[in-house]
Symmetry: C2
């Protein structure tokens, strides 16, 4: 097994100013190509501390990936420290400087200073990884059969460099196992119940396949990972296992890999040349926000009425004063009338409506905080469903929005 | 200076399944009480690896905080490894078991297994930190003048334990300096411009005060941190410096500490007994979502029309077909009519309207992606403003929503 370590340099993480999202992303990328991450460390902008961290990592791993400390200011000491560690000196790199110049030019600036010029200096003994998204070049060193790669800490720049340069070079340099992943997205069932349901299937997985449960608000992702020598052999085997899983939990599966409910719903509506509107009470615009976060959603999404006040439910959506009084705002009758009201008013094929109690106040013994009604109007009928969703306001809003989108997806299928 | 290290145990972080948000939060808490974090490490569920990490951390720091690996399953080995490290054995703790029993009882379960019972076992030589939010107890060890604390990895449980137990004990055990923070929230000015404006003020800060720039989407936070012996002396000194800063950048400041624009706007509306509605085009419900994320927002927020399709702008909001044709949907005239339309229709004192091009498509040479108009209708007038906000769809939506809320805040003041 090829082992890697990730070292993050800089004080922002150590004072808690930023969360280190880079390392998780890098670990994912390494895992995808069969490299195991042994340790992740964040160390301060201090030469001695960095040198020790490099030595410790080298004693445990084959690959050491370093991010951060490559900026132009004087507290960015990674480059000088690497020169010391690899016993080399800096040289000026013309191509790296051309990248700096081009970036300044693009931003309409001509004031390249001596400090900016220093960005183009690189250690003599390294292979330069040219930055396609910023000014600081990356550096690839080899020592005693181990690889050290230094990259900028800016997530966008690091990711580009990993994808275009580091990952391909690592795959070339090291004989890594073939890895195949398959992610199955489910909703409407908890981790322990699902795990009970698929126990027999899971126990029968071959030893070279593993299953991971990845819970998220409003959904649970299942990831099958297979490891072996031949990707072309593994791929159909994983598909076969996923196919065997399907009949057991089909009703809970809504998608695969990077699917999102808002994209799936959008694709179905576009394919059918149909339109959608929403009428939101307690979700307060969150469903509309999710739908419109998808580029091109104006092809099928017409708009929404956020009916936070009862007067909007009656005035704009045509919910009857009587049924509002008789059944209450949080009721099957009201959500049905809201769904029909916005569908009619916005002249759409489908609509989503929500009404509920997000709390912390507004609950009662009969209808506690977390009581939620969702309605989906289709060209033929209205589908309604009640959920009871705990007591955390933000979570109630997010979860019921995902449940509503999934109800619509099922209606569209 | 008292130094700390944070060690996170578990494979979820090393395979990139979860981002380590715990460490940043813990680092913040330690910083607040004047303890500096020297290194943060994530290591695997492997005894030898954990033992080495503990030794390395002990060689550098006075305090070692450990999270994770305390669950009931067999891959959670932290407790056994700590017994080995401190040369002690496990004992059964009655109070820790009572906590397990109570939690099972609360969830209506009676099936406490042998595995669950083991959650109540603790090393003989530690001080037990009882969990107020879960089952696994925390552990406090002392060795050679150094403190080791092991806590659950579940963020909610760890945070409770830090706040109720660990931080107070650390303050008692170590003589830490007094620290005072003051955070000033600004909007509408970039980091480098702001830094130029306040250079003279910043250079005149006493040596024991530091300024940090904390940029976020749509805002820039400034944090003054003072360190010394006497909190009662530092507090007024920090306030004095903040007061001196005020006249230089008053127009950009919108709040302090944990203020958010949606809360500030809500408080002003509630105080004035006034109401608000919104008419959103490209922001697609995000402003409405921010406003309704505040508990109690139904006191002043009436609702929204998300007018994604032009027909909704004309039909529901009364935007003139003519002006829409003459000036286009993304124009000052349209945003003004949208703001007035929803204010009139929803009978509110104030309204917010947005129209713009979030991309990636829909831009033109004259109105490129990122062109945004915001309108605020007040009881007296309509305030409009144009922004040009880059090309990232998600960022354009978030930033313009915050700009819109800040325009309303200014109008309310």
């Amino acid at each position: 097994m090829i082992l890697a370590e990730i070292i993050t340099i800089g004080d922002e993480i150590l004072i808690g100013q930023i969360v280190d999202t880079n390392s998780a992303w890098m670990a994912q990328q390494l895992n995808m190509i069969g490299i195991k991450v042994k340790q992740i460390s964040s160390v301060s902008d201090n030469e001695q501390h960095i040198l020790i961290a490099l030595d410790e990592a080298k004693s445990r791993a084959d690959i050491i990936l370093i991010t951060g400390g490559l900026g132009p200011t004087k507290d960015d000491i990674t480059k000088h420290t690497l020169c010391k560690y690899f016993n080399t000196t800096l040289r000026f790199d013309e191509r790296a400087f051309a990248i700096v110049e081009e970036l300044f030019h693009k931003r309409g600036r001509t004031d390249i200073t001596e400090t900016n010029r220093k960005q183009a200096e690189v250690p003599l003994s390294c292979t330069v990884l040219y930055n396609t998204a910023g000014t600081a070049p990356g550096m690839w060193f080899e020592k005693d059969g181990k690889v050290f790669v230094s990259m900028p800490g800016v997530p966008f720049e690091m990711k580009k460099m990993m994808e275009l340069d580091v990952i391909p070079r690592l795959k070339e340099k090291f004989k890594t196992p073939a890895i195949v992943h398959k992610t199955i997205l489910t909703q409407g069932i908890g981790e322990s119940f699902l795990s009970d349901m698929i126990e027999t299937w899971e126990d029968a997985l071959p030893a070279y396949m593993k299953l991971a449960y990845l819970p998220q608000a409003g959904m649970l992702r299942l990831r099958i990972t297979a490891m072996g020598d031949d990707k072309n052999k593994l791929q159909p085997e994983v598909e076969e296992q996923a196919k065997n899983l399907l009949p057991i939990i089909a009703e809970y599966i809504f998608g695969y890999e990077d699917d999102t409910l808002e994209k799936l719903v959008g694709n179905l509506l576009r394919k059918n040349k149909q339109t959608l509107s929403t009428a939101e009470s307690f979700t307060g615009g969150y469903i509309s926000h999710k739908i419109t976060s998808v580029p091109g959603s104006s092809d099928y999404y017409i708009g929404s009425v956020v009916a936070y006040d009862h007067r909007i439910k009656t005035g704009m959506l045509g919910v009857g004063e009587e049924s509002l009084k008789k059944y209450g705002a949080v009721s099957e009758e009201t959500v049905r009338e809201m769904a029909l009201g916005v569908q009619r008013k916005f002249k759409t094929d489908y609509s989503i409506a929500t009404t509920g109690i997000a709390g912390p106040s507004g609950g009662s013994a009969e209808k506690p905080v977390g009581t939620v009604w969702i309605g989906i109007a289709t060209p033929q009928t209205v589908i309604t469903r009640k959920y009871q969703l705990g007591s955390d306001r933000a979570r109630i809003i997010v979860e019921s929005s995902l449940y509503a989108l999934n109800m619509l997806r099922k209606a569209l299928n």
